[in-house]
């Protein structure tokens, strides 16, 4: 289980290859990549700064991955999240999960992402024509995370 916060870009292919390297139990790899859109809430976005709370971020992400491990039958998981200055089309986050079968890999990947969105201390600040603004939380993110509370 690996969690990494970085200002550098990542190579998803290389990360996934390392995650499943030499593990013959793996029959499924599910991954998700989040990227910077050039439009948010009706405003064009020219740049973004991602801030986090060092120390708590790593702790929160490890707790989320551990929770995924108790809920799903997975072999390994990786979370890479970038911070600092980003531009539209840049990669922000990578979540990858290995499992014997696809069901647990898909579910665990989605679970980690949904919990990350609502529990990991990251904040986005966007540069728009109207000035810089902190991104607002989405109700849909809370709903996505809450979905896992009611399911076994």
């Amino acid at each position: 289980m690996t969690v990494r916060i970085t200002t550098e870009d990542f190579d998803a292919g290389r990360e996934i290859a390392a995650l499943r390297a030499n593990d013959r139990r793996v029959g499924a790899v599910a991954s998700f990549i989040g990227t910077v859109r050039d439009v948010n809430e009706g405003e064009s976005v020219s740049a973004m700064t991602l801030e986090h709370y060092p120390g708590m971020t790593e702790k929160a992400l490890h707790a989320i991955v551990e929770e995924a491990r108790t809920r799903f039958d997975i072999l390994d998981a990786l979370v890479v999240h970038r911070v600092g200055h980003l531009a539209p089309a840049d990669q922000i986050v990578l979540v990858a999960v290995t499992s014997a079968h696809r069901g647990d890999a898909f579910d665990a990947c989605r679970f980690i992402m949904d919990y990350l969105k609502t529990r990991a201390p990251f904040w986005k600040r966007e540069a728009t024509p109207a000035g810089a603004r902190w991104v607002d939380t989405r109700v849909s993110d809370d709903e996505a995370a809450a979905r896992w509370e009611s399911e076994p």
Partner: protein, 94 residues
């Protein structure tokens, strides 16, 4: 006299403000001394009593969370000497 030395000792905590709250308060951190046994709720009351912008940003019903030593904590959590207490706006990562 047993225990008399424990009376009325304050606790000093390190407050950390993140993202929008850091901007609103014009600082990223500060050291605050509270009465011994103070809770997270008591800390928030003390901060609100400073007036604007504290009273507005930390008003009951505003969306923010409190973390004590990197774990989300409730209003009734008791603060200890040397605790790192962070005020977090709603998170927007991913």
């Amino acid at each position: 006299m047993p225990d008399s030395s424990h009376a009325a000792v304050g606790v000093t905590i390190d407050l950390v403000y993140l993202a929008r709250l850091r901007e609103a308060f014009g600082r990223g951190s500060e050291r605050v001394t509270l009465a011994a046994g103070s809770s997270v709720g008591a800390l928030l009351e003390e901060l609100r009593a400073r007036g604007e912008p504290w009273s507005r940003e930390l008003a009951p019903g505003r969306a923010f969370r409190v973390a004590v030593n990197h774990d989300i904590a409730g209003l009734d959590a008791t603060l200890g000497d040397g605790d790192e207490v962070a005020l977090l706006p709603p998170v927007t990562g991913g």
